[in-house]
Symmetry: C2
Subunit: 242 residues, 2 copies
């Protein structure tokens, strides 16, 4: 399954808030064998949200958005997603029922928070009362990290039950001296992604290179790693990271 | 000046590396009055890089890419940017001269690292010997955070000398109770961006809302903030954050 992630928030683009939802969701998706193919960080702008949601929705199996859900003027994600699919916004009595009586609730919140894209599905909300809202293949989450984490079970229910297998080889040498061996394996094993990540010398640890082999089939990943180790220059010190 | 940022790297999409270049560059750009309008995190894939670079190049004044520069098979950013503009790759003797004799250098590195899009401009490299490469309005940086930081002076030289002014009001109450006042100011002041950020109760600090007013004209930002304070419910406790 291939996913796209859309992070909505001026505060991230201005650097006043550091986005942690991307790394959290990237790890969670990877742990389930789902492939995150692109992340877009975009402003709280209806037209921009609509355009990117439309594009991602057609390119990926599933799209997740975070941010832009709330009672203020800059919370426009529901409206942006609705526009992406040419839908209107409609008041959902189930949402009014969820919010009524909560400490953060008033009539204005009801009018804004409970108007979601027409035909949307309300997913089970996990630990949080306010449910994720799903329109076509787009799941709309809030932006506050603890709420994103709380919604992870609802999101996980939409994902396949798979996992990626990873082998990592640490090479104590120059990246240029392993490039050929890595390229050969990358070309020979279609189902295995080969990544090369140089780590600069720091805190007394000499510079080295992490070479990662990732795929959905364990035997293939193991085989690719062995091929790489055999293809490395004999003079290159290396170890497998457990 | 409006910018787009493209972060190239499978390792970020799989969650094995946390991207810190986005927050670093977002803060640096903001501090200079440059507006970061979108960030894309994409895989090490020539076609995807080419498509996103082409789109961003036409939408923004300046585009910055990080990652995908190096001697291995998964370093394809130069190739992706070249393809975005229908250019070929050409060997640059200046780059060969820079690399020759360095510890990390060999012939394979020369063949890959020194082949950059035809007609590219090599920017002054700041603290690092390897220069940022600029093609049309796209500046190509490496992905390693310390190298991105080292290239900041070269990037800053392309930016206007401006700054954003920010006022932040902390409201000790519910976001729903300040939504009207914030919306009114957002509608009345075109040159001021009004953002509302709820902070959940934590570590003994009660929940509150940060309302930020941001713009390039200080007088306008001050005026908008005063209007918001006057429009707030008198019962809402508030303070200005210095």
């Amino acid at each position: 399954m291939e996913l796209g992630l859309i992070i909505v928030g001026n505060e991230i683009l201005s650097g006043s808030v550091v986005d942690t939802n991307t790394s959290f969701l990237a790890r969670e998706l990877f742990a389930r064998g789902a492939r995150l193919l692109e992340v877009a960080v975009i402003p709280d702008d209806v037209e921009i949200i609509a355009a990117r949601v439309w594009e991602f929705s057609s390119r990926f199996d599933l799209v997740v958005t975070t941010g832009g859900i709330g009672p203020t003027h800059d919370d426009v994600t529901y409206e942006g997603v609705a526009r992406a699919f040419g839908r209107g916004l409609g008041l959902r009595p189930e949402l009014v029922a969820i919010g009524t009586g909560k400490k953060w609730w008033n009539e204005a919140a009801a009018a804004k928070l409970c108007r979601v894209p027409e035909g949307a599905v309300l997913l089970p909300g996990g630990l949080i009362p306010w449910p994720p809202v799903m329109v076509e293949n787009v799941v709309i989450l809030p932006g506050i990290p603890s709420l994103v984490e709380g919604h992870m079970p609802a999101l996980a229910a939409l994902l396949p039950s798979g996992r990626f297998f990873v082998r990592t080889v640490r090479c104590w040498g120059r990246e240029v001296d392993l490039a050929d061996a890595a390229a050969e394996v990358a070309a020979a094993f279609r189902g295995v992604e080969v990544g090369s990540y140089p780590i600069l010398a720091r805190d007394g640890v000499p510079g080295h290179v992490l070479v990662k082999f990732t795929g959905l089939e364990e035997a293939l990943v193991v085989h690719a790693t062995e091929r790489f180790l055999a293809g490395l220059l004999p003079s290159m010190p290396r170890d497998l990271i457990p």
